[in-house]
């Protein structure tokens, strides 16, 4: 039984992660690949997060402020913020695919 519950929770969390990840990716896909991340963030993030918060609050109100629903949608909200942060702040280990011109080399 516990295993089933854990599996269920993991599935829900994975599905939530995937949906949010895809929604953020859709925002970036709607722009040209050359468009800078910071520009997309500036232009789209406010409306994205306002819309997401409204949806979360609508669900919370619909489910009569049930505690489990509040926890779930709070997770959704913070997960979205975390994923946006990852998107706009590339990791330090990331290497550039194209090396810059090194004119001093023969």
């Amino acid at each position: 039984m516990i295993v089933l519950v854990i599996l269920g929770i993991s599935f829900i969390l994975l599905a939530t992660y995937t949906i949010i990840r895809i929604s953020i990716a859709c925002v970036f896909w709607s722009f040209n690949t050359s468009t800078e991340t910071k520009y997309i963030f500036k232009l789209c993030f406010p409306y994205y997060i306002i819309a997401l918060t409204m949806i979360c609050m609508a669900f919370i109100i619909t489910f009569n402020n049930s505690l489990i629903v509040i926890y779930y949608f709070s997770t959704v909200y913070f997960l979205a913020l975390f994923l946006w942060r990852r998107k706009i702040k590339p990791s330090k280990n990331k290497k550039l695919a194209v090396e810059p011109n090194q004119t001093h080399l023969p």
Partner: protein
Amino acid sequence: MKKIILFIAALIFSTLFYGKSIGLNLSLFSILTLVILIINNKENFKIKRTLIYSAMYLATGIAVFFHDSTLAIIANIVSFFTLIGLLSEHKASIYVNWLNGLYTTIAGFFHRNYTVNEATQTVESKKEIDYLHIVKIVIIPAAIVIVFIGLYQNGNPIFNELIEKIDFSFINIQWLLFAGLGYYLFANIHKPIEVEPATSQDLKTGNLLFKTKDFSIPVLKQENQLGIILIALLNVLIVIFLITDITFIITNEEVRGSVFSNQVHSGINALIASIVIAIIILLYVFRGNLNFYKENKTVKYLAFTWIILNAILVLSIAVKNSQYIYYFGLTYKRIGVLVYLILTLTGLITTLIKIDKTKNIWYLFRSNTKAAFVVLVIAAMVNWDYHITNYNFNYAKSMDINYLIDLSDNNTFLLKKNSESKTLNTDIQKRIQIKYENYCIELYTNSWQELQYNNFKLKLK
């Protein structure tokens, strides 16, 4: 220092709202929010506009304490967003203030920490926080200490007794989480931010119309002719309508509910259509270069006449509505009609100014949304349930007592007073008594956070 203030505010937030319904807590929260904002935005609070909006916010907060109405709560929330938005950019339009206020409340902290630096064109985090290190220094020592406590407990009975005496049951995790939410909220709002490019675009957009390059006299002459014919015909039509309407008001001595109801409702529908179409037509006619055409005086005067006639139409509907109220009592819908008429009149006046002073459509949006906000705040100041009950008992020719009983608890004491002094049937008196008793129980069981003005009234009785 700022973090300590935010931390204290978060604790107060949780104390005020955790597991409580709305009452005194929202008024205190309004004061707390203002204190936090003043501490962090001192310069902004020297501006007159900020002070006016702060006063509005505070007034709606106090209104919630005096009459715990939904309208007052909505007005308080809207003025909260307006004030926050105003602090982010005080020159922006009110609807941009709402957007900025909403965004700041939802994600201000995140935006400030991962903002785009315009100078270096890089996305930068203000402070590099090593979360892994924080987890390490908290979890690892805690886990090891717990293991050792377990070991020592078995080794020494006095130590075991001491450990068993420790009781953490007073810690309420949900209360702490709620305080966390409070901290996040105050961290978001203490330094308001802007939504770009909406704010800069709004600042760039002025209120005035300018002559465009395609200024052509023959085209404008045709437009002018079309405008004159169209608005003149509409003027004739509205004059005929008004004559018949006023004749009806003066001559109709027989008062029947259905007649008045039909007149008011169909009148309102006609008014909605006529005002909206009137404004659209005027906006179309005066959309561009016709404003700068030298021979546009006739069309302008016709437009002014039409606006004034529409204003008379508004007044005629107001008269019918007030007669309806006098004969059949005050209700929320009838008050709603009056509010709509006030907004319509404002819309007409701003349209008149737009044509006279050659303003653009943004001027209309800005002034009318501001007017709607002011009407909302003023409407929130009034205890409508009390006034509806008072008017219907003392001034209206007839009324629906069941409607009054179904209103919120704000009219309970007045209903009780009237049921004692006036002759009402026993069934109605019984219903009023039940409402009164339930409300008294609710007031007696209120915690200090949920206190209302009626609590003090009850104590005096």
